[in-house]
């Protein structure tokens, strides 16, 4: 039970307390401490070292273990970078935003943790909506027109999306009507155990609504626009949080539904829906990769692409499902590094337009090298983890003899690679037309963002080559849950 205090109550207390005006440095240090404790607790839960005494409201299974670790991990690195971020001398950092920054971060951690470990879909819904509310003020950090529009769209589209997910939850309740699951209070564990007794028509309707609703938050096409706007216009640490951890909190809802449908006739339908969502996301990412002229937006579409791959793999099942879970871990490491580096570029060039940015490798040595490395990782170059996870997804496709789908996916990935590298190499190399406009050539100092990106990329390569048995054990448990 003490572990639950560390991962749930501590961030809530910190979030509430930090609304009181005070020393920001102290708030940062306390937040960092909370994040370290959260990470340690998540790691202990993940390895099975700590087995929290769980009430019927909480569920700590393989899914929660994995997603909790991803959340803790991303959150720790982002908090570590936050002091550097809010104190950048050349960054427009409004005092009002700085005041609430650490409160919102801690409340974000609380809401996400609650969503990941809840054993009731109603509680999950409330927590998920709370994550939107805590992240919206963070998206509005710069308090300019673009961030205002991004916040409005994120808040509105996602609230409407999540409202639809709630209709799905009510349909699920309807599917349990007349059974003891309904009488017991519709807990997730009861729904999973007694799934064969549910009304299949309502279960199917529930899946459609929940999948469509949560897609807005996870960034699955065609419901992705709110997510893309938020990723491209929020400060980089916030974008890293949203892309690398918040999408996972939305995805776990979809996976929970898959847990319920596993072993019922609806499962096949759910898989088809997931595969469709995955393929549409890949296609949308392909089209926009050639149309976007904004490098942060390009990374946002890369996020849509990778979420698409994860959903696709989970829909296919078997080896692809294992690949998809690995992809979830690797993508979170990579996107954090990538958004942090994009943030450095933005600060230096004061523009998110790719056309305004040239010669990053020359002007910003460390950022350039790490951005390039993160780019190589995102296009699944070995030895980075994404290469191995994508390979697993392809293996799953081959095992199921879905060769046409495999062909389509490979074709799309190839062209996404071309589109992305065209823009990335243009900003990394090339002579800056704006050099005379004040982009002075000073040697970039190695700072905390570079350390973070370097650590994450080393971890990404190491995890690809030597994946610990504990992780594969948890992922196999997940595969067992969904392949019932």
């Amino acid at each position: 039970m003490l572990v639950l205090f560390y991962i749930l109550i501590l961030p809530l207390l910190a979030g509430g307390l930090f609304f009181i005006p005070g020393n920001k440095k102290l708030k940062y240090q306390m937040s960092l401490l909370v994040s370290v404790i959260h990470l340690a607790a998540s790691y202990m839960i993940f390895t099975g070292f700590a087995q929290p005494v769980v009430s019927q409201w909480f569920r700590i299974d393989a899914f929660s273990k994995l997603f909790l670790l991803i959340l803790s991990h991303v959150y720790f690195w982002v908090v570590l970078n936050s002091w550097h971020f809010i104190n950048q001398p050349d960054l427009y950092s409004p005092e009002k935003s700085r005041k609430i920054f650490f409160s919102m971060m801690n409340l974000y951690l609380f809401a996400n943790t609650l969503a990941l470990i809840s054993n009731h879909l109603g509680l999950y819904w409330v927590a998920l909506e709370s994550t939107t509310l805590t992240v919206a003020p963070l998206i509005y950090y710069y308090r300019n027109k673009e961030s205002l529009e991004a916040m409005w769209k994120y808040l509105f589209l996602i609230s409407v999306g999540i409202a639809f997910a709630f209709i799905g939850i009510l349909f699920l309740a309807l599917s349990a009507h007349g059974t003891d699951i309904f009488e017991k209070g519709l807990f997730l564990s009861d729904l999973i155990e007694g799934s064969s007794r549910l009304n299949m028509v309502w279960l199917k309707a529930g899946f459609i609504f929940i999948f469509a609703g949560l897609s807005t938050k996870a960034g699955i096409a065609p419901m992705h626009p709110g997510e893309v706007d938020a990723l491209s216009n929020s400060p980089s640490p916030v974008a890293a949080l949203v892309s690398a951890s918040l999408s996972g909190t939305a995805l776990i809802g979809i996976f929970r539904l898959m847990q319920i449908t596993a072993g019922t006739p609806v499962h096949q339908f759910a898989q088809v829906l997931m595969i469709t969502g995955g393929v549409v996301s890949l296609l949308v990412a392909l089209v926009f990769m050639f149309r976007v002229t904004n490098y942060k937006r390009m990374i946002a579409y890369s996020s849509v692409e990778h979420i698409g791959l994860i959903v696709l793999g989970a829909g296919i099942g078997g080896a692809a499902l294992i690949g998809s879970m690995l992809h979830m871990i690797y993508n979170s490491l990579n996107k954090t590094a990538m958004f942090l580096m994009a943030g450095n570029v933005h600060r230096r060039y004061k523009s998110r337009e790719s056309g305004d940015v040239r010669g990053v490798l020359k002007n910003m040595k460390w950022t350039g090298i790490l951005f390039m490395t993160a780019f190589l990782a995102v296009i699944a170059m070995p030895p980075f983890g994404l290469f191995f996870s994508e390979l697993m997804i392809f293996r799953g496709l081959v095992e199921q003899e879905r060769f046409i789908l495999l062909g389509v996916v490979l074709f799309v990935l190839l062209f996404i690679f071309i589109g992305m590298s065209r823009q990335t190499f243009a900003i990394l190399y090339g002579k800056s037309e704006r050099e005379s406009e004040g982009i002075e050539e000073v040697n970039e100092k190695f700072n905390i963002t570079h350390f973070t990106a370097l650590a994450l990329l080393v971890l990404l390569a190491a995890a690809g080559l030597f994946m610990p048995d504990t992780v594969t054990g948890v992922i196999n448990q997940i595969a067992g849950e969904l392949n019932r």
Binding site: V126, L133, L148, E149, L155, A173, L174, H177
Partner: protein
Amino acid sequence: MGNVLNILFCLSLLYLATTTRVTGYLKVFVLQSILLFFIVMLPLLSHFSVFTLLLPLTILIVKAILIPGYIRKKIIYELEIKTTIESNIQQFNFLLLTVFTMVAVFVFSNLISKDAAVDPVPFAAAFSSVVTGLYVIIFRKKLIVHVIGFLVMENGIFLLGIAVASEMPFLIELGMLLDIFVVVFLMGIAINKISSTLAADEVSVLDKLKN
């Protein structure tokens, strides 16, 4: 009695489809919230206790007093929003669309109620509200009207929750109400900022973010 309240709920949607005033929209939302209060109260009358009053009273306070009060004072009056709504389609077409949808939803609810444990009238009223709220968001231009459309949708979902007779635990209901209140609060702040920085209160000004 329950059905009468649900039908009144539906009629409020028809008023929503015909009115062209922002304050009219707000009044419909308040009326719906009061109806929700009575709909939640009705089954509780048989086993009345102080504790059972908590949820309906919270609904009444949050949805019929706090949220409308905030919207009226902080958004409509403070920003001097023009009282007429701007629409993408003609008023008559909007009404026609709403009526057709409502008829379709009622027929559909009647059909499914034969196979499932669904009470057709509240189910249809709830779904009509969700769809009408969505139409308001799609076809109206003013941001504040979008917020009210979202709230009408939420009211529909609340009613749907009652219709499928799945009582969510009290704490979850409370959490939902708190979430909705904070959403409206944040949307209010956003509209405030949008009108001060972009000097407009319509969705058409939000076109900076493009691919």
